[in-house]
Symmetry: C2
Subunit: 164 residues, 2 copies
DNA sequence: TCGAGATCGTTCGGGTCCAAACTATCTCCG
DNA sequence: CGGAGATAGTTTGGACCCGAACGATCTCGA
């Protein structure tokens, strides 16, 4: 759902408006399109896959991390999901109240909390993830599939550079 | 600030955990790393550039769109910024109360609202954007600069595929 | 052993974020 | 004309989002 300006028009307006300034326009184009792509993909997947299960994006990611790792500590979930521990705390409360996961206080270290999916949570992920993957396939369908691993690698480099 | 698992460990755990399922793992790697990269870059730029001006990410993007287009209609800002009109309405109220922009009711069409930066808003953007661009350069520093335009193009394709 | 400092998850306050409902305005057809 | 329907921005309610402050727990050196 494009606005009333096309992407090309926007980028050309940017170039005109900022002409003469000492800027890295190529870096700008990469980051601008990075955020546009992530946003568009997220909105698309929220609407087509997550909405029918009444899950938010973050809720889904949290469930996904706990599912993949069988059982995960909260600080790790926060890191993987890309949210602060404060945010995660609230999201966990929401998901726990819906019976999708449980918190368990660490036995050896009383400060830690680990998260485990309930049976309902596992069933939900098992049914939902293949659909989610279809949506992942859909948003990457414009790309040459031979290039996919290289593109993933470029994105890892960005994550790396932004993480210190 | 990586979690306690490295990115490699995570991807290998994913592969093990989901082995045997009929999934597109390459599409998965691209989207997963897309969100990781966007998130890491956003957090980095919020902390290093935006925080000192007490601006949120969305607030900055909204100011940026209005700045680039001199004056913009709200539905267009919402589309460019990737937020709903409901969200934009609140963000505009925040920025307006801080004296960075003004709303103007459309003269020909009384339903429309256009947004213009105040002098203070323009001054802020003029000072902030070069710094923002430095951060953009920073998060792309791990990439071969000859590849930058191609990478921007890949990301445009994802946006395209996710937009209908 | 015992307390200073580190680390963990939660709480708090204020700002996004969205869908749905709402008000105001415009369009256009009968 | 006049009103039915389309369109624009705002409000509402509930969830996310973060930094900072907090209480609980652990560690480790004197």
């Amino acid at each position: 759902m494009p606005g009333q300006h096309t992407l090309d028009e926007t980028e050309s307006q940017v170039a005109t408006r900022l002409a003469g300034m000492d800027l890295d326009f190529e870096a700008m184009a990469v980051t601008a399109n990075l955020f546009r792509a992530a946003n568009a993909a997220r909105n698309q997947m929220e609407r087509t896959v997550l909405a029918k299960s009444n899950l938010t994006w973050t809720g889904f990611v949290v469930l996904w991390v706990a599912w993949i790792w069988e059982s995960a500590e909260t600080r790790e979930i926060a890191s993987e999901a890309g949210v602060s521990k404060a945010t995660l705390s609230g999201v966990l409360t929401t998901l726990e109240s819906r019976g999708l996961l449980v918190r368990k206080r660490g036995e050896r270290d009383g400060r830690l909390v680990t998260v485990e999916l309930t049976t309902a949570g596992k069933r939900l992920m098992k049914g939902l993830f293949p659909e989610f993957n279809k949506a992942e396939r859909r948003v990457t369908r414009g790309l040459d599939s031979a290039q996919l691993p290289a593109i993933a690698e470029y994105l890892r480099q960005i994550t790396q550079a932004a993480s210190d």
